[in-house]
């Protein structure tokens, strides 16, 4: 079944129909989420009551739009705060890891590389509870020993940041390493010959070369952090990020305001996703 080998046209059409059906299946849930954001009804379901923008800009109950729903606005802020930290930390550690794995040979490198990949195969819920259990026992020990309070080690934003960072760093490391591997070391040597210091050469030559990968992994980290649910669920305290707030609202019974948030999320994710591909595409 390749273009150069003729196939019966009936089989070809069946195949095309299947592929089309598959893409409809992919697009369907997102499409309905977006469409019902404009339904002038208090339930995100049929019948269609007419077009409205109230779920975005509405101010009167029950039609309170996203931009006036304080809980959602606040949780978007929380998510942005968490995502900024996670992305910054993950990219910083990921860049160090890339240099370590690409530039250095040492005993136990294979083992360390395997350990670095482990977070990919640990289910998010387990990652969450293990960090929760560990930080609570550390907090208990410290509190017993010193008599002080260690709120940072209790469920809350710090733990959420650490929990997301613990697996997103692996992705950042992989993306940045892949780019660093393609770097021609003779460029750096040339800089050294021309009198640059070791750090100067890295800053002037190597880091600019890595920039596309660094930006791409930062964008992907923000995206993954914004969307993470499993790990966050176990570590969250009183300030909940967007996905947790939406989940709580969904369980209580939803209004189309959730569709409106989702529509905004879909747009932002699509833009960020495209951006990451664009930056990664530059490495070819």
């Amino acid at each position: 079944m390749i273009p150069t080998v003729p196939q019966p046209s009936f089989a070809k059409w069946c195949y095309r129909a299947y592929v089309t059906a598959f893409f409809v299946y992919l697009a369907l849930p997102l499409t309905v989420v977006c469409v019902f954001a404009f339904n002038n009804s208090v339930f995100p379901s049929l019948p269609w009551e007419g077009f409205t923008l109230a779920w975005f800009f509405g101010t009167e109950a029950p039609f309170i739009g996203v931009f006036h729903e304080r809980a959602i606005i606040r949780s978007i802020g929380t998510s942005a705060f968490v995502a900024t930290w996670v992305s910054g930390l993950a990219v910083a550690v990921g860049t160090c890891n890339a240099f370590l794995f690409v530039r250095h040979e040492f005993r136990g490198k294979g083992l360390l590389y395997m350990l670095m990949l482990l977070p990919l195969i640990i289910p998010g819920v387990i990652l969450g509870i293990s960090i929760l259990v560990f930080s609570s026992s550390v907090a208990n020990t410290l509190e017993d020993a010193t008599g002080l309070w260690f709120d940072g080690l209790r469920p809350g934003l710090i733990l959420v940041i650490l929990g997301q960072f613990s697996f997103i760093t692996t992705f950042a490391t992989l993306v940045i390493s892949a780019r660093l591997q393609k770097f021609d070391p003779s460029l750096e040597e040339a800089a050294l010959n021309l009198g640059a210091s070791k750090w100067g050469a890295i800053r002037q030559i190597t880091l600019p070369f890595l920039t596309p990968a660094i930006v791409a992994s930062a964008v992907v980290s923000v995206l993954m952090s914004f969307e993470n649910f499993n790990t966050t669920l176990m570590l969250v305290g009183s300030d909940s990020p967007l996905t947790i707030t939406m989940f709580d609202k969904l369980k209580q019974g939803s209004t189309p305001v959730l569709n409106a948030v989702s529509l905004l999320l879909i747009m932002v994710s699509a833009v960020l996703g495209m951006m990451s591909l664009l930056f990664q595409g530059r490495k070819r």
Partner: protein, 288 residues
């Protein structure tokens, strides 16, 4: 002197990764295991023992849910492979240039969107007052509203939807690297479509199939949102039980034991998958 500074540089690079892996991955998992083998005998008094694991095997609800989660995850993995393979083959072999990029992108867009939004979309489609139920009534295929949410089929469909990209991407990558001339040669030598699929395409795609299956299985096993939101009252999922023990019941010891069992199962499957296909974790997961 030069070697001293490079040694220093090496240790400076080694510090962050060690801090990350030791504090956030290794120690927490050791801690999880220690908590899972401690039994509460009084307020803040514990002793070591395997009571929590005994409780798991002694209570049918627990191990049945565990088995159910495992079996449904395997089923979801098989379904994803069967549904995803033709798509990957189509993208890799039957399209070229811009069409290929577009199709590939169209596959990816849904997965940049939060899982919560995707699941919400399925709820709108499948619920009693939902789009599909109304469409069926409009077409006259059914008389009254149909509830398609809150059953195992809905969970299965949600799981496949959530993880199909992780099957399609590695498959497209491996199928892309298969030279068309090998398939042509197969036809020239008198092979049929089936035998070529079996003798040439599938063996070549094996690395992609294995890594796709591993990722999909793990994602299904560790999924929380899909079974909770799409499943009914009886559709228990093991991650949901872990959540209940931790957050609702506040029984961290039993919850840790559950978590450890889930981790053991997922590691075992990853390990077995890699052994069966004679691949290493680094080759399979390190592909970006």
């Amino acid at each position: 002197m030069a070697s001293d500074t490079s040694r220093l540089g090496f240790y400076l690079l080694l510090a962050p990764i060690l801090l990350w892996l030791v504090i956030l991955i290794i120690l927490p998992h050791i801690g999880l295991f220690i908590v899972s083998i401690s039994e509460k005998i009084g307020p803040r008094e514990y002793e070591t023992g395997f009571d929590n694991y005994a409780a798991f095997f002694g209570e049918p609800l627990y191990w049945r849910t565990f088995a159910r989660t495992a079996i449904m995850s395997i089923l979801a993995t098989v379904l994803t492979l069967i549904l995803g393979f033709p798509i990957a083959y189509y993208i890799a072999k039957l399209t070229r240039g811009r069409t290929k990029t577009t199709l590939f992108l169209m596959c990816m867009i849904p997965f940049w969107v939060s899982e919560l939004v995707r699941t919400f979309g399925w709820m709108i489609l499948l619920r009693e007052t939902g789009v599909i139920s109304n469409a069926l009534q409009y077409l006259g295929l059914v008389d009254g509203p149909v509830e398609m949410l809150y059953n195992d089929a809905a969970i299965m469909m949600g799981l496949v939807y959530t993880s199909i990209l992780f099957m399609v991407v590695p498959l497209v990558t491996t199928l892309d690297s298969l030279d068309d001339s090998l398939i042509e040669a197969g036809y020239d030598l008198g092979g049929t479509s089936t035998s070529i699929m079996r003798e040439i395409v599938i063996p070549h795609a094996m690395p992609g199939i294995v890594s796709g299956c591993i990722v999909v299985f793990m994602l299904s096993l560790g999924n929380y949102l899909t079974p909770i939101l799409l499943g009914g009252k009886d559709s228990l999922w093991f991650t949901g039980m872990i959540y209940t023990q931790f957050i609702t019941r506040f029984n961290w010891e039993l919850g840790s034991a559950f978590g450890f069992l889930l981790l053991a199962l997922s590691s075992l499957v990853v390990f077995a998958g890699l052994k069966l296909s004679r691949q290493s974790l680094i080759e399979t997961m390190g592909r970006t």
